[in-house]
Structures are given as C-alpha cells and as structure tokens.
C-alpha cells in the first residue's frame, strides 16, 4: 500500500503539471481503474454528487443512464472532461479545480466503471418526423428548440442528451415531482386585486423577478404587492393518454431524444 501511495503522489504532481499546460486530453486511460480504495471513495463521491440525477445505480433518473457510456464508445479522457467541464445547455454542472481534484474525478469514474453495462439497443419506437408535428402542436408554445418556440418552459434544444427517455416519458405523463429552479410558478396580487401569474426567475427578501404568462420579464417589490404566493405544482401540464395517445408519445419521444443540438 505505501508503494502505491508513493506512486499516486508522483502521479498527482505530473497531472497538475499537465493541467497547468492544458493538455490533459493526452490522458486517455483512468489511472485508478480497478483500484479498490479509489472505487470506494468514488462510490461515496458519486452518491453525494451524481446520484440525485443519475440514480444510485447510474441507470438515470431524470438525467441519462450512464452505465453504457463505455460500451457506446466514450473514452475515459472524454468522460473526465465531461465531469470537469459540465455539459452546456443541460443541468450537468462543471466540477472545477481546486474544489474537485483530478483524482476525485478519476475515482468517480473508477467507481462508475464497476457499474458499466453492455450497450442495449432499445427497439426504435415512433417516428421523430411525426414527433416534430406533435411537438409543434402541443409543446412549442412554451418550449423552445433552436430558434422556434416559446420561453415559458425550459429550452429543449439539447434535451436528448440531458434526459433519459424514460424520464421524459414520466414527466410528460404528469410525473413532474419537482420544479426546476427558475420555473417555479408564482402569483402576484396587486393592491387592486389583480393577479399576475408567472414563473419565478429570482427573488430575495424584498423583491421577486418573474416571467409572466405574456413572457414579459419584470421585477416587483414585495411591498408594492398585496400578496406573493408560490405555486406548488409545476406549470408543465400532465399529458394523460386521452390528451396524448401512446403512439403520439412514442413519436414525441423519438423527436425529443433526437434533440442533441449545439449549445447556445
């Protein structure tokens, strides 16, 4: 063990020098793969920092299944960069140094490797082309793809890499268990009794900033309002099978999972 420890120290020094020169891309293989201690530490870090979105089993909750990333051809080096830099246009955050060291990331990947699975090919269901039509009819008023669509809901231009298909399906059918920050519904009541419905973009003790249902962004002082009432339910409607048939949902999911467009 002490011998491995010494080897690791040497490695830390060399990695930090490499990072300083920004040529980390040359490291393509996880130096900690198979290391029992690293896997153990990686498990803890994974559970605290990753499992909320990717699941304790890494099969994805709202964020993608990441058990098959190696089977699908991603390299250790590419995965390292994804964790370090995050994925623009999705909820995947960056984990910058020095708070997250290079070794921290390699440990997480060492643990993730123990969960790795063979690539599965789900039978292709639905038509993305037909799904685009469903999207235009049902979703486009609030959600944006590329340069088209509304602004009330989150931009979905990259939803195909941000969400597991099953999570999308759940959320469309009405399984929005939490509300994304910046999209919490809020109702402002003016002294005259008029109600302004909107989505909360920010707030503090004295003010609240919203996008109202006309897509007007505006800040209001709490002292100017009779009431500021937080909604509990996501503004995203639940699409029951009566409203959206299983076949239409398959088409829509085929379209949404194809949305892997460039980050803005």
């Amino acid at each position: 063990m002490p011998f491995i420890g010494a080897a690791l120290v040497v490695f830390v020094l060399s990695v930090s020098q490499v990072v300083a020169q920004d040529v980390l891309v040359t490291i393509t293989a996880n130096p900690l793969e198979g290391d029992a201690e690293a896997i153990k530490a990686g498990m803890g870090a994974y559970r605290v920092r990753c499992a909320d979105c990717h699941g304790m089993d890494a099969r994805g909750i709202r964020s993608p299944d990441i058990t098959q990333v190696w089977a699908r051809g991603r390299t250790d080096g590419a995965l390292f960069r994804t964790i370090r830099n995050g994925v623009t246009g999705t909820e995947m955050p960056s984990f910058p140094a020095p708070r997250t060291s290079d070794l921290d990331i390699w440990r997480i990947l060492a643990y993730l490797k123990t969960l790795a699975a063979a690539a599965t090919t789900e039978p292709v269901r639905g038509s993305a082309t037909a799904g685009q039509g469903v999207f235009a009819a049902q979703c486009l008023a609030c959600h944006r793809v590329g340069t088209a669509g509304g602004h009330l809901g989150p931009d979905l231009s990259r939803i195909g890499i941000a969400r597991a298909r099953a999570a999308l399906s759940r959320q469309i059918r009405g399984g929005m268990t939490d509300v994304r920050t910046g999209y919490e519904p809020v109702t402002l009541t003016t002294p005259g009794g008029e109600q302004i419905q909107g989505l909360k973009k920010n707030e503090d003790l004295f003010s609240v900033q919203i996008m109202d249902t006309t897509e007007r962004i505006q800040g209001y002082l709490r002292e100017d309002m009779r009431a500021v009432t937080n909604g509990r339910q996501s503004a995203m409607p639940a699409f029951s099978p009566e409203r959206l048939s299983d076949a239409d949902l398959d088409d829509l999911l085929a379209y949404l999972t194809s949305l892997q467009g460039a980050a803005k």
Partner: protein
C-alpha cells in the same frame, strides 16, 4: 513589551532621519502601540486595529452618528474593486485614515479611506493554485498590526510582515510545508510582542497548531499543537497513530484577556471528518475551545463542545469575552455560538460550563449534560447509506463573526436552519490529499425548509430575545453599534441594517454579492461615521450625506 516598542521605534526612525535632513517635515507618523491594541475601538472612531475590533471580539462600535432613525439615508461614498475572480473574506483594518485590506490569492492593499484610491498593493508569488490545499477558497481573513508592520498568513502556510508604508516584505517565515496539506487564512492576533496565528488543513490530514512569532524578527516563540503528542495528556483520546493526521486546524482568530494573559481559540474538526473508526476516542482538542498562556502557549484549560465529532463541526467560530452576573455571581465569561447547534457561556477563568442551549433545531444531541458532555440521540452516525442530521455540515453558524452589545447584554449571531444527509466511508491517508472519509449533502424535499435568521441571544440564559428571518441561510458576519444598529447581509446580496432592540428591518442595499463570511466595520473619517462593507470582490464605504465634513488640519 517596552523593549520591543523601543526597538521598533529605532527601526522606524532610521529612514526618517535621512528624510528629515532633506525635507525637515517634523516627527514621523506614530507607530501602532500595544496600548492602542488593548484599547480596542476608541470613542473617537479613529482606529480598527484587530480582527474583532478589540481583544474581546465584540465588534460593537461606540459610534452613534448613524442611528436607527437616519440609517436609511446612508449614501455610497466610493467602491473599490479587486479585479479578481475570488472574493473577500477579510476584516479590513483602519488607522490614520488609511485602510489595510487583505484579499483573495494573498493580494493586499493600503487604501485611502477618504476616496478608496489605492496607495500600495502587495501580491505574493504563490505556488501554482492547483497545488494549494485551502479547502474552501483562496481567501484571507485580514491583517494584524503592530509598530509600523502588518502581519498576514498565506495560502502556502507562511506568516509574513509587511511595511505599512509601502507593502514591502519585512520578514517571511515558513510555518509548515504547504504540500503536506497545510495552508493559512487566519487573521493574526498581535498580543504584546507576539503574532498569534494558526493553520488550516482539517480536511487534509494535518496535525493542527497555534503558533506565536516574534513581531520584530519573525522567529517562532512557541507552538501549541492542538493534538497532544505521545506522553502528553489527551494523546490517549486518539486511537493508534491517528493523532498524527487528526486535523484540528485553527483558522478563525481568537480572543485575548490581558488581565489573565490568556488567549482563547476555537479548534477545528477531527479528521477524517465523517468516517471515524480509525480515531476512536474524544479526539482532543478538536472541536474545543482552548485557553493558552499568551507568553508560553501553555494550556490553562479546555472545553470540548463536540467530543468525537462525526459531522465536521469545527469549533472555529469567534469567541467573545464579557463580564456577566450569572446566578447572582459576577463571572468573567467567554461566549460561543457553535456550529453544532448549541450556544455556550463558559467561565473563562476556569473553563466551567455555565450555559448551553440550542439556538437552532438540533437532532444529534438532546442537551448538554451536567458533566458538560452532549447527551447523544441515536441515528446520527454517518455511513455509506447516509444519515439525516440537523444542523448540516456548514452548521448552525460558522466562521462569520457574531457581535455582543454590552448595554443590552445581547449576543447577536447569524444562524442557519438546515439539515443534511451525512455519508461516511473508509479512506486511506495520502499526504496532501483531501482526507474526509465521507461527504454531506443538504437535505432536500418538501418538508425540508432551509433558511437563516439573525438571532439575539441572552447569554445569561441562552434564550432568544428576537429574530430577523432570511428566506435562505445567510453566511454574513455582523457589526453592531452603540446607537442600536446591526449591519448584516443575506445570501441574496442585500446589505441590511436591523434595529438592535427589536430585530426590525431598517434599511437595505443590493450589493450584487453576499457578505460571505465578512462583516462591515465602522470608523470616523473627517467627522463623518463611515461603514465599510466587503462583499464579493468589492469594498463599499457608506456615510450620511447631510453630515458636514470637517477637513483635516494636516
């Protein structure tokens, strides 16, 4: 002490003699004396010379020009920007209308307090930032001062002395090898002829200590290891050789009682933070307050708030000294609102526990027993599956300074109501690497409301007198004044004035960044009371616009 002043005076005179022969401008500016440090915050508002304003750490100014009635008229006088990506966690010092400010990355400045304009700038050549091991930001908490020198700790675990006039380095002493996990961010406390500092690294398997350095030479005068070595009392509270890397860091400035010549310092968490099988025992003096002889560093007494801590609850909060009548007896006390959720009043002569009461929701201990030990509740041991405990890892409060109002006999503190899931797993020690054996995550869910509050606590009973609630937990320190104003901040970036008698809201200004771990300070410039606010990467000075300025005579 007198010999030191004489020596410093001579040192300062040498260049002045040359200047006098050329310019004949009279006496050099007076030096900062130990007497000034003993006086704390003077009634004329001309100085702020230590981290806590005075050795008692009250941070309670005698100034009364700004009041609850007129505070809403405060107007910005100037803004200073660091032009760095990292933030202030500093308490600036003020003397003779000049501010001395430490910033992130061991930058430091002397600024004209009238205009905010830079007089000099110091920048330390640091090792590559990736090799520094400060756990929680490349920050610094402020200068100490004596004679014509400023003292600062550094991220690579040195302590240095700078010339107050130029920012030039006078001496530079290595405290420890930074590559082994040591760093230092603490504001030095100057006591008599010594500079008192400590080290950070509780998440990196260090063995913590408090050091005293000779202000004149930078030579180390004494070291108190916060973990006793073999043969010393308390070493047996660490299983096996775990004492060698047990953490117990020191990164928040303590207090000093000149009558008893005792220093009071809060000590950091034991390591590894969460997985504790390797360090069975109480783990002294982690999570304790220690009383040390200021001349020798010898331990007089200690009190451990959290024996065998499992939740990273450093006792690195600011201790405050006062004289109180408790149970009909006059007592010299030290007051301490702890990260573990309890507020404590201790007799500072003996270390006897007088008052202990939760000031937030706490689920790990039922109470503090008569023997001074917490009465533990089940279900709070972190493991691989995670266990839910209140308060969270950041704690009920933390390093952001509280204040004490001796007129009202109230202790003011920014408290946090947050719970967390704590995880633990076994981890092997690698020198210079993070060594926490786990992690913690803020508890989520509809029944988990995380918020903060400014609370006024009666130190005689531990009872809450009033509170001012924030919508999220604040990490701002406090400043209070004799006119009854408390200056605070919230996490959304509002700088706030609160009525010290009722907790009522008085005034706000959106700074664009929270006062993270910082407090405002206050002082007089040209007859006008100023309030100086470090927030994010800015320093902003405030004063009343309708108070006429008295121009200086020289």
């Amino acid at each position: 002490m007198h010999r030191l002043v004489a020596r410093l005076t001579l040192a300062a005179l040498a260049p002045s003699i040359v200047a006098a022969s050329l310019l004949a401008q009279g006496a050099p500016p007076p030096l900062v004396t130990p007497q000034e440090l003993l006086q704390g915050l003077p009634a004329d508002g001309s100085r702020w010379l230590t981290f806590g304003g005075g050795y008692d750490n009250h941070r309670h100014s005698p100034l009364t020009q700004i009041t609850p009635d007129n505070v809403s008229r405060l107007a910005a006088q100037w803004v200073f920007q660091t032009d760095t990506p990292a933030r202030f966690e500093t308490t600036p010092l003020l003397r003779d209308n000049v501010l001395y400010v430490t910033g992130p990355l061991n930058l430091a400045w002397a600024l004209d307090a009238r205009t905010g304009r830079e007089i000099w700038r110091y920048r330390r050549e640091l090792p590559p930032t990736g090799s520094l091991t400060a756990c929680c930001g490349l920050v610094n908490k402020g200068f100490g001062v004596l004679g014509d020198r400023l003292f600062m700790t550094t991220l690579d675990a040195h302590v240095i002395a700078l010339d107050m006039k130029t920012g030039g380095v006078v001496w530079d002493t290595t405290m420890e090898d930074y590559s082994k996990g040591y760093a230092s961010t603490i504001a030095p406390l100057v006591v008599k002829d010594k500079v008192i500092v400590g080290v950070a690294g509780g998440e990196y398997g260090i063995r913590g200590f408090i050091d005293a350095y000779d202000a004149a030479t930078g030579k180390r005068a004494w070291r108190f290891y916060t973990i006793p070595g073999p043969g010393e009392p308390g070493n047996d509270t660490w299983a096996g050789d775990s004492w060698q890397r047990g953490g117990a860091s020191v990164w928040v400035t303590g207090a000093y009682d000149p009558d008893m010549n005792l220093l009071y310092y809060g000590i950091g968490n034991p390591g590894p933070d969460y997985h504790s099988d390797s360090r069975k025992g109480d783990n002294l003096y982690s999570d304790s307050i220690v009383a040390l002889d200021a001349d020798t560093g010898k331990l007089r007494w200690h009190y451990q708030f959290t024996p065998h801590d499992l939740h990273d609850w450093d006792a690195t909060e600011v201790p405050i000294l006062a004289d109180l009548a408790i149970g009909g007896r006059p007592r010299k006390v030290v007051m301490f609102a702890n990260r573990n959720g309890f507020y404590y009043t201790l007799d500072r002569v003996t270390g006897e526990l007088l008052v202990a009461k939760p000031f937030v929701i706490t689920t790990w201990a039922k109470e503090i027993g008569r023997d001074g030990r917490p009465v533990l509740l089940p279900g709070n041991v972190p493991d691989e599956q995670g266990s839910l405990t209140c308060p969270d890892v950041t704690g009920a409060t933390n390093f952001w300074p509280p204040t004490y109002d001796p007129q009202q006999r109230l202790f003011f503190v920014n408290a946090r109501e947050v719970c967390a899931t704590f995880y633990a797993w076994r981890q092997e020690y690698v020198p210079g690497e993070r060594f926490t054996g786990g992690a913690a995550q803020r508890a989520r869910g509809p029944d988990q409301r995380a918020y903060g509050a400014l609370r006024a606590i009666d130190p005689v009973t531990g009872e809450r007198k009033w509170e001012f609630e924030y919508i999220t937990p604040s990490t701002s320190g406090l400043l209070s004044t004799a006119s009854g104003v408390i200056f605070s901040g919230d996490a959304e970036g509002n700088f706030l004035a609160i009525d010290a008698r009722s907790g009522a809201f008085l005034w706000r200004f959106q700074m664009g960044s929270a006062l993270h771990g910082t407090s405002a300070i206050t002082y007089m410039v040209d007859g006008r009371q100023h309030v100086l606010v470090p927030a994010g990467t800015t320093l902003t000075a405030w004063a009343l616009p309708d108070v006429p300025r008295v121009a200086p005579t020289r």
